[in-house]
Symmetry: C2
Subunit: 362 residues, 2 copies
């Protein structure tokens, strides 16, 4: 909206300069094939439904009461599934909130934090919001992280693994090298997509006092609609996150979010089966797109990053949209010849491939 | 927890100084009479249950999708109930988050913000968190706000109305006087408890370009477990809140919170009946406590602020606790001879009165 200078006087001066994050579109259109925001194509565990039903018992009377501000049951469920202690867990209203708290808790330093030039586009937004200095580190020409670049003075490091929107994973030995080279900096590994085939750094938490691992239930647990994210780290880092959280909002997790996420973490069998289905569908999708001439980066995520050298993919995205299929196109340097495509069910992926083959590229 | 200086080096320097908010206790004890966090004694509207049931249909498949980042349906429901436009509404994860965004959006100024010395104890916490300068303005000896004190240079004003923990309401003419005296400052009226008998400033929003009214569903709508708060203001102020929100967390409202809150706002009849019941119970409770020798401040909230001149009320609170009744005691200057007691059902209030009369004060 257009706000007059006169009315802008009410805004905090620093807020007038903010450039907020723009999330992937959530169109309110029926029968759309939505492959633009990396949602899981399968419903959450059936145990989630049971857990929410339990809250509704007795006229949902329990809703009149505040939730547990510490979400202890949820921390316990995550700790058990991740094989760490409850004192290693921090939870928040989606991993976006957890990341916001991470930036405030650790990254407001004299030195700039380091992150890749092509990565989650919320990082510069958080940085501006909290006054964090930043330095972007270019990925190489294959969109890979070069560990040597992360051996310079810094106020912290954040690495998305697998990276987004590129889908490429970094191995644990490379992550250990970054951790060891930066003993006085907090190194955050943002693992939003880790469950689709990459190696998690959670097992390194006991070994490195400077490591924070961040995960979400939005992708691999089919709970994007619920807003539950978490961080895993040693207790002296969790304490900083709790201090920040309790200076911002004491009760960020509502009763439904806590109960539903607990149920999801308690159903490991369902979780693993769903991840395997997505991985299998991804491999089929990649093969089919390569057959159509696409170049697809090696993905360990529930999305792929694909280019079609002969075409303007921005136009391609617009043509797909006309056919009721939405994918994500970033009109940014270095990646404006790529589309980020969420892996759907085999049927959904086939619709995408068929539409490309029979209509758009025919 | 005790963190060594050596491990503190990982924290952002400013975070090491934070003094987080301490919420009212949420004990996990059965059969406790919990009159300490101003929760409503009645369940939410039955329509809330139906709305959540609808999300669970089809294996809760919709949970795999992100919620509407703008929570448009919720804004529409609030706008209709409050008789304002959708463009006047901002929503957040509880009014605590809404208030946090308000502090960042408007109060990071050269001049200090003004608030009462006795009021919601989260205000100084937000201020420290965002680097907001503050000046506390003493209430008078009757715990009332003196409007003249809010006519000095400032970077913003926040008034809780009715005030907490004092329960005393400020009239709209006094609020208009504050608004008119401060045409270049944002004046926030925090109306968490307004539905229990005070006058809301929402009707003034059209008239004052510097007014923000903040409300919550936690008290009068029995949805503390859900975390839904909102602000009402002219669009140029809402835009600042949206810029802040979208620099922090794009999707703060989960699907359950949106749907359940919408259902609550659509059931005005239930809402009004519940508020009237709480008000009636409050008046009975006040009369019964006065009979026992308590002095009770004139309450327009769902809690009362009461002292017993002959007793140390801190000890009284401990004795009540031994009897399974929790009330809130603030060991702070000026109010350490008062207890904040949430209004329960008539039966619950009677248990409190009987316990005082027959056991503690017998």
């Amino acid at each position: 909206m257009n706000i007059t200078t006169e009315k802008m006087r009410f805004w905090s001066p620093e807020v007038r300069e903010l450039k907020p994050y723009v999330p992937g579109e959530q169109p309110k259109i029926q029968n759309l094939l939505k492959l633009n925001t990396n949602e899981n194509p399968y419903p959450p565990s059936p145990k989630v439904v049971e857990a929410v039903q339990a809250i509704l018992a007795d006229s949902a009377d329990v809703l009149r009461l505040y939730p547990d501000p510490d979400a202890t049951l949820l921390k316990q469920a995550i700790a058990k599934q991740q094989n760490v202690a409850v004192s290693n867990i921090f939870v928040g209203n989606g991993s976006d909130e957890v990341l916001a708290h991470i930036f405030k808790a650790f990254f407001v330093q004299q030195q700039p934090i380091l992150y890749a030039d092509i990565t989650y586009s919320f990082y510069p937004v958080y940085s501006q919001f909290f006054g964090v200095k930043t330095q972007e580190i270019p990925l190489n020409d294959h969109f890979e992280i070069i560990v040597e670049d992360y051996k310079q003075p810094n106020g912290g490091i954040i690495i998305t693994n697998p990276n987004a929107p590129t889908s490429i994973a970094l191995g644990l030995s490379a992550i250990e090298e970054v951790l060891q080279a930066n003993p006085n900096s907090v190194v955050v590994i943002d693992e939003a997509y880790v469950d689709f085939g990459a190696e998690s750094a959670v097992d390194l938490v006991g070994k490195y006092e400077n490591l924070v691992v961040c995960q979400t239930t939005s992708k691999s647990r089919s709970l994007a609609g619920l807003r539950v994210g978490f961080a895993i780290a040693q207790p002296h880092l969790i304490a900083a996150l709790e201090a920040v959280k309790n200076s911002f909002n004491s009760y960020p997790m509502d009763r439904f979010a806590i109960a539903a996420a607990v149920a999801s973490f308690e159903d490991q069998t369902y979780f693993e089966a769903q991840c395997q289905k997505v991985i299998a569908s991804r491999e089929t999708l990649v093969a089919n797109l390569e057959e159509l001439g696409f170049t697809v980066l090696p993905s360990k995520a529930n999305f792929i990053f694909a280019s079609l050298p002969s075409k303007n993919v921005g136009e391609l995205a617009a043509q797909l949209r006309e056919q009721g299929i939405i994918v994500r196109y970033f009109n940014k340097p270095r990646i404006n010849q790529f589309l980020r495509i969420t892996v759907g069910t085999d049927e959904q992926n086939q619709r995408l491939v068929d539409t490309l083959k029979n209509t758009i590229l025919a």
